[in-house]
């Protein structure tokens, strides 16, 4: 029969030599490879005690920032959701009532804001799209879960607590700081 490819190998069942039949040299050869690995640098670390150094621009779990006065910055404009290539973000907007001015920065706020962490591809497009500097990706790792539903993060996880601010200064590059100094873009803040 004609061969379909030239990659096929003819199997041989030739008799093993004496050295091959006693196996000891092969075992020693294998053990020597194993033992050299004891003295090599380890590829793994003891994770919770030891942590790897992250890149400055590492993109991990999102945070919804509050402003200096502790009010939520997000105004539920939907630009992050429309920019999201994975369609991971959903939100429901609500109107701020009189007396809630210390909670929300704008007239409108996100009553429900959910990110499906299983859909999210951590591209950072939401951060780029945000006109209110509300959403940022941080260097925190998304915790593992046994079920799927807990991966849909709501506002309880995403919004930063007033007493425990999340540091995003590494994402505020010098270009961002220069941009903020420019008075002409004040309307963006």
């Amino acid at each position: 029969m004609e061969k379909l490819t030239n990659r096929s190998v003819v199997a041989s069942d030739k008799k093993m030599t004496f050295m091959e039949r006693i196996y000891v040299p092969a075992i020693l050869k294998g053990m020597s490879i194993t033992i050299t690995h004891f003295f090599k640098k380890k590829a793994t670390i003891n994770y919770p005690e030891e942590k790897r150094e992250f890149s400055k621009v590492y993109r991990g779990q999102h945070v919804l920032k509050r402003d200096d006065e502790g009010r939520e910055r997000c105004t539920a404009c939907g630009l992050c959701a429309v920019a999201c290539p994975a369609e991971a973000i959903t939100m429901v907007a609500a109107e701020r009532k009189p007396g809630e001015e210390n909670l929300y920065r704008e007239e409108k706020y996100a009553a429900v804001y959910e990110i499906n962490m299983l859909r999210c591809i951590y591209c950072g497009d939401c951060e780029d799209a945000c006109p209110k500097e509300a959403i940022f990706l941080t260097d925190r790792i998304v915790a593992s879960q046994y079920e799927r539903m807990p991966f849909v993060y709501g506002k309880d996880i995403l919004v930063e607590p007033t007493d425990l601010r999340v540091d995003i200064s590494a994402r505020q590059t010098s270009a961002v700081h220069d941009f903020k100094k420019n008075k002409a873009f004040a309307h963006n803040r």
Binding site: T75, A76, C77, G78, L79, A81, V82, C84, E87, T90, A93, A94, E95, E106, E107, K108, P131, K132, N182, K183, A184, F185, A186, H187
Partner: protein, 307 residues
């Protein structure tokens, strides 16, 4: 009556006498049509206020070939035989449009992330094409509180550009006008004096004619961004109006009802408040099918769930 020959941006077109430059350009269509913020073909006497449609007339007519001394408002200037108009080909007209856009935005709060009109706003489109990237003014903007001028109509005076379209709707479509412009000059503002005074059956049309987000639908307020809803053509038997509308749906939920707008953002037919505000169940309507949207419109972007 002989037809008049006009050249707009090197495109020749023959129109009837009494046509404005704007309408002659609309007969040609395409990018040579000047933008209009205040002109509305269905409203008599509209136009001439916003100045975004300024064009240069390089040749007044065949008999008098001198150019017009200043830029003219194309929505108010009638064509003459042999007129040569420059719109996008005239750097002068384009410069003035940029300046006009900057002036229209001088008191505009730029709260597009909050505004319900964002995504179908003419001022957004205009500043996208002709606006500057930055604000050059440092002065305080005018600030008003949002008020309910009608039962279901919200007025954000901050965003208003004083195009007078809503005033003309009230004059020409409804039987009695109860709102108007108060004050003069830079103190002008749309108001009713009495809250929730607008209650005419056709008053909801002022939401649709408003080129910006100054007049918005209170029943749709902050429900969804425009680009997360999908428009469907639909109709119902209505005793007051034609009943031909667009339904804006998010999934199975009917969030908003508006009139059908053509490519210049003008309503084909004015619809009544019953259709607009009070029939928010899909069962009330006979759905004809999805409405065609321009491919590059934000409304045809990303939707939650495929339908």
């Amino acid at each position: 009556m002989p037809l008049l020959k006009v050249t707009i941006d090197n495109v020749e077109v023959e129109v009837e006498a009494g046509t404005t430059i704007m309408n002659a350009a609309r007969q040609v269509g395409g990018h040579i049509v000047p933008p209009a913020m205040c002109y509305y073909s269905k409203l008599e006497g509209s136009g001439g206020k916003c100045r975004t449609c300024l064009v240069r007339v390089a040749q007044g007519s065949a008999k008098d070939p001198r150019p017009m001394p200043k830029l003219v408002a194309s929505c108010r200037t009638l064509v003459q035989d042999g007129m040569v108009v420059e719109n996008t080909t005239s750097p002068e007209a384009m410069d003035s449009r940029q300046a006009i856009t900057e002036f229209l935005l001088i008191n505009h709060p730029l709260d597009c992330p909050v505004c319900d009109q964002a995504g179908e706003c003419h001022l957004q489109d205009l500043s996208y094409v002709h606006g500057l990237e930055e604000t050059r003014t440092v002065e305080e903007r005018r600030v008003f509180k949002p008020i309910d001028i009608g039962d279901k109509i919200k007025l954000h005076m901050n965003r208003c550009i004083l195009c007078y379209r809503c005033v003309m709707v009230a004059d020409q479509i409804t039987d009695k006008r109860v709102h108007g412009i108060l004050g003069r000059g830079d103190h002008s503002e749309i108001s009713t004096h009495i809250l929730k005074a607008v209650d005419n059956d056709f008053s909801g049309n002022m939401i649709d004619v408003c080129p910006v987000g100054a007049l918005t639908d209170n029943t749709f307020r902050f429900k969804s961004r425009v680009w997360f809803t999908k428009p469907f053509d639909a109709h119902r038997n209505c005793t007051k109006c034609s009943g031909k509308v667009v339904l804006w749906m998010k999934g199975e939920e009917l969030l908003r009802v508006t009139g059908r707008k053509d490519k210049y953002g003008e309503l084909d037919e004015f619809i009544c408040n019953d259709c607009r505000f009070d029939h928010k169940a899909t069962a009330d309507w006979t759905i004809e099918g999805p409405r065609a949207i321009e491919r590059h419109s934000v409304i045809s972007q990303n939707h939650y769930g495929k339908q």
